[in-house]
């Protein structure tokens, strides 16, 4: 099983990286000089949803606050362009690179190019294939949410809510991206332990509202018996809610929607009773990312993964949390 070996590799990576933090620095991981201000690069993967926009805003705002110079690029959904973006950052001589890799394998060359150029690289929100690049050896660390846990939390809530019975349609994120892979695995594993729950279809909606809606429309028509939709992010969930309404059904009543992200429109859908719950995936990376860089420049120990703490939203707390949502 690919996924099992991947998880084992990940665990091995964590373990090895744990032991090897100090050794790794001698072993090729480029150091970061202590300076008053830095010129850093942020390679964004795409800007097609509020989550990405909030993440970019956070990286820019925090850089401005610290007085750092930020080189910002947007790969517009192309892994090839993102590799080129990182190379152009290397050419511009940035001190450190923050990369949000679009896909797990295609971004390996970017990670390796930064290492070779002697520029420390931090992965944020998405990771790369742990068999090909290792934290503490090829890049400093991965800062982000635990996507497996997000999928699991969504599934756990669902199992409780529907008493272990239901027919599920799953709207996946961009094929091959780590949040889509891990959220699916985290969710599907829990569902597999509940014989009363069944996933009858699972298709991509590419993390955006329009495609999420189109996919949901087709799946709802082919599987009218379904009564649950799990979407890998809120934008697709909101698209799915339009699809449910277009099919003449009531979201929240005929069909339960559960999702991940916790964006403003998602919380509003919970308040309106159209969505059941959403697992937060906090996009405000700026403070944590730059703090990690400063820590690294001082030669402090950096763990192989730094996990964000995420909240869980349902009808009980959505209204109270919507103000500081994005």
């Amino acid at each position: 099983m690919v996924s099992i070996s991947r998880r084992m590799a990940l665990m091995a990576t964590v373990a090895i990286a744990g032991f090897a933090v100090t050794a790794a620095m001698a072993d090729g991981l480029p150091p970061l000089k202590q300076k008053a201000t830095y010129k850093v690069g942020f390679a964004q993967t795409e800007s097609n949803n509020p989550w990405r926009l909030a993440q970019t805003a956070s990286m820019k705002d925090e850089a401005a606050k610290l007085g750092w110079q930020l080189v910002y690029t947007d790969a517009a959904g192309s892994a090839a362009k993102q590799v080129a973006d990182v190379n152009s950052m290397i050419a511009q001589g940035v001190d450190a690179i923050f990369l949000s890799p679009r896909e797990e394998k295609p971004l390996i060359p970017a990670v390796m190019a930064a290492k070779k150029a002697g520029i420390p690289l931090f992965l944020i929100d998405r990771s790369v294939d742990p068999n090909l690049a290792k934290a503490g050896v090829d890049y400093v660390t991965f800062i982000g949410s635990d996507f497996l846990l997000e999928g699991k939390q969504a599934a756990d809530w669902l199992v409780k809510k529907v008493d272990g019975k239901g027919i599920i349609l799953e709207i996946e994120g961009s094929t091959g991206s780590s949040p889509a892979n891990d959220r699916k695995k985290g969710f599907d594993d829990v569902i597999a332990q509940n014989p009363g729950l069944k996933i009858v279809a699972s298709q991509t909606g590419n993390f955006n509202r329009d495609e999420g809606r189109k996919t949901a429309e087709a799946l709802l028509q082919a599987h009218p018996e379904a009564n649950i939709i799990f979407a890998h992010n809120d934008e697709m969930a909101i698209g799915a809610i339009s699809a449910i309404e277009a099919a003449g059904k009531k979201p929240g009543k005929d069909i339960l929607v559960v999702s991940i992200d916790g964006e403003k429109d998602g919380l509003q859908a919970i308040i309106d009773g159209k969505m059941g719950a959403t697992v937060e995936c906090n996009p405000k990376f700026g403070p944590a990312a730059y703090a990690a860089a400063i820590k690294y420049s001082k030669g402090e120990k950096i763990p192989a993964t730094m996990t964000n703490t995420d909240r869980f939203y349902d009808a009980s707390n959505a209204a109270a949390s919507i103000a500081d949502s994005y």
Binding site: S47, Q203, T215, A218, S242, A246, A247
Partner: protein, 339 residues
């Protein structure tokens, strides 16, 4: 079918006529074959809702495809349609959400927003035509300018932010329905009605009007057309302008369904879907022979292939391959037509 010839029936054109007939029936045949496959293998296919889903999803492609057919009929191409959709989709909410100036009456605001958005897209289309005719730039390069810059313009207008809204008066264009019969029929979706009207008008124009004849004459042999008195530059500018107007309407439809406008997403990849629909429909990509109904059928085939894959659990990536295979088959058939 609005299959149109520019010359009289010589031996050569009769042969093309025969091949055109084969092509016409091969695209129609492909659609019928797809329908039969779905009736047999796709669950819950024979339902009003299936028709509804597919027609509402295909409407934007067809609306853009109508303009694209006219452009391709002149021997040109328009890569900017997706970006023009984004511009139209970005400007409309800015106006009806009263972000720039305050229009008190909401229906008036919506009307102004729609008209300005569509006209702006049309103006950009006109600009494409002007570049092409004034400077003799190849259409693929001239429209590439707005393909790149257009989305940038839309992003600058909105600061790259999503514009969410909930406004029935506007969303009527994407969610409204006509001729509903209580408990029997939910009604014809507005965007499908727009699509049908556009198809009928464009098919008539292409087949019967002087303007249509001029378009085909230019596509068939631009020099001969110019020498025989066709105002080539003027016709071309109008054609690109129409393509822009169609894109503007499609942009409004897409944002209305999603109740949000995202300059980064609206119309993304639409130029390829529209060109694919035109090619699969049997319009000659080198110009001179065009069919609007063919484009409609081509778009329906592409949509139905995607729906079939989704409903039967085949991943989207494979659906894209199937779409590519369809285009190859269509172009191959066209090659047979010229041999």
């Amino acid at each position: 079918m609005s299959q149109v010839q520019t010359q009289g029936p010589t031996a050569a054109t009769r042969r093309i006529d025969a091949l055109a007939a084969v092509m016409r029936y091969s695209t129609l045949g492909a659609l019928v074959a797809l329908l039969i496959f779905n009736v047999l293998f796709t669950r819950h296919f024979l339902a009003m809702q299936t028709l509804d889903v597919n027609l509402t999803q295909v409407a934007a492609i067809v609306i853009v495809g109508v303009g694209m057919t006219l452009v391709i009929a002149t021997g040109g191409i328009d890569l900017s349609v997706g970006s023009l959709m984004a511009i139209s989709g970005a400007i409309a909410p800015i106006i009806f959400l009263n972000k720039v100036f305050n229009i008190g009456e909401i229906h008036l605001a919506v009307a102004v927003a729609m008209i300005v958005a569509v006209l702006l897209a049309g103006a950009f289309g006109w600009f494409n035509g002007w570049l092409i005719t004034r400077f003799r730039i190849q259409p693929i390069i001239a429209t590439l300018v707005l393909f790149i810059a257009g989305r940038g313009i839309a992003q600058v207008m909105t600061n790259g932010n999503l514009q969410p809204f909930k406004l029935d008066a506007f969303q009527w264009i994407g969610l409204g329905r006509l001729f509903a019969i209580t408990d029997v029929y939910r009604g014809l979706p507005i965007q499908v009605a727009i699509m049908i009207v556009l198809v009928v008008v464009a098919a008539w124009v292409l087949k019967r009007s002087l303007f249509g004849r001029q378009i085909l004459a230019i596509g068939g042999n631009e020099r001969a057309a110019r020498l025989s008195g066709v105002p080539v530059a003027q016709v071309k500018r109008w054609v690109y302008c129409i393509s822009g107007l169609c894109a503007g309407v499609a942009g409004l439809v897409v944002i209305a369904i999603n109740s949000s406008s995202d300059a980064n997403q609206v119309g993304l990849g639409m130029e390829l879907d529209a060109i694919a629909a035109v090619a699969v429909g049997g319009t000659l990509l080198s110009g001179g022979r065009a069919t609007i109904t063919g484009t409609l059928i081509g778009a329906l085939i592409i949509q139905l292939v995607r729906y079939t894959m989704l409903a039967n659990g085949v991943p989207d990536d494979v659906a894209k391959l199937a779409k590519a295979a369809l285009i190859v088959a269509a172009v191959w058939l066209q090659g047979q037509g010229r041999a």
